[in-house]
Amino acid sequence: MPSRILMNNAFLHFLTLLLFKQKGKHIGAVLISVIIIFLLSSVLFISSSLQNTLLGTLENQSDFTLSRVQAGKAINTPSDWLDKVLEINGISKVAPRVYGRYFFTPREKSFLVVGVDLFDEQSSKELQSLVKGLDLKSFLSTDSMLVGEGVKAFLSEHYYKDSFSFKTPQGSFKKVKIQQTLPSQTNLIANDMIIMSIDLAREVFGLGEDEVTDITFNVPNDAEWDNIIGKLHLLFYDVRVVEKREIRKAYENLYNYKGGLFLILYLVAMVTFMLILYQRYSMVYSTERKEIGILRAVGWSIKDILKLKFYETAVVVLVSFVLGVALAYLYVFIWDAPLLSQIFLGGANLPNQVEFVPVLEFGLLGSIFLFYAIPFLAAVLIPAWKIAVTPPKEAML
């Protein structure tokens, strides 16, 4: 019954007739609106998806990282620090990390080589659950590595199908077998990553047996965090301690749209668009003025005319918004945002095809809608009201 009332409503019939009769007038506004909303929504979808995913993975990282510094630069950390750190009360899960970037000089590309202690039960279990069918025995018996998708594609392009020869700082070559590729779902973190045993990584980077890149540890009691940092600075003088909460802050800022250029660009684009709209509607448009004049002459009140213009604009706004947001969703979460993802993750090293996990922040979408709809409505209704308040005879002149 209500749908029948809607179908037979004279006002609605006139409104929809008007919309389609003057479709040439609306198509331009809809197209520009869809492009602006599509771009803004795409950027926000990518940033919120990346932020959400990275903050989730950060939960599994250690609370603190300790590294030795010399002249303000991080240098290799002595592995005997591990025992000294372990002696401090309140510290748990102390582990060494060996990682670094390996430069493939001929093409000026780099890989992130990470050494993993495969004799650690938890690490080996995680690795086996991550890479299906990984034979840990054969992995450990030969010099082998697991590579990210980006590394695999790059090495295959350069005819390193089964193995790759690393050039060590001593000038010798170390041939390492490519055991398996990491799943594509891990590209966000591991696209340029090479995982190998910790001893092999030491050999590739020329690290001594008593050296590690840095040391990670946990402090389960949050209230002890500042105290522990103080103790570490008393124990070692040439040390830098990085807290997880610092990294969390860095990630929050990293993809925060407020800090980026995108919001400024969006504001510039929106203001320009609204100015164009206002200019267009406030110009002495004979057809527009005549139309309002005729409606006034046949007995329409100012309120009726504003109501008509309001609904007409509301339809344009709603259709553009839904189209813009939906297209942005398809572009980011189904087609994985080609081109735009490079702005977020860079494109100077290995190409990366990241699968974005869908995250919709409805509050944010509501804000975009308000920031877009209110200026749009104002840009149309104010000039329409100006014409409507003039006498019909003058308006039709």
């Binding site: 929809t16 303000g72 000026e108 992130l112 993993v116 779902q185 966000l188 800022n253 990293l254 100077a348």
Partner: protein, 84 residues
């Protein structure tokens, strides 16, 4: 309401419905679990920034220095896009 308008509204609603259905039914947990596994194994959670050799790859652990002016605050292209 005229027929064309009804068709337009139906198409827009269909598109919005498709997006909502995809959002509700998409299983993002497996991807997140895999990423967590990588972090557990490597103890690194930094995103793969495809950066040039002189730019930092592992966030918060690597910093770039201008060799000519080591005390000058450095800026790379990622800083230009994001806040620091």
């Amino acid at each position: 309401m005229i027929k064309e308008f009804t068709i337009l509204v139906s198409m827009v609603l269909l598109l919005a419905g498709f997006v909502l259905v995809h959002y509700v039914t998409h299983n993002g947990i497996s991807s997140k679990e895999m990423l967590s596994s990588v972090t557990k194994v490597t103890k690194l959670s930094s995103p793969t920034l495809s950066v040039a050799y002189y730019e930092p790859r592992v966030l918060s652990y690597e910093e770039v220095l201008n060799p000519a002016y080591p005390q000058m605050q450095t800026m790379n292209k990622m800083d230009l896009v994001y806040a620091k």
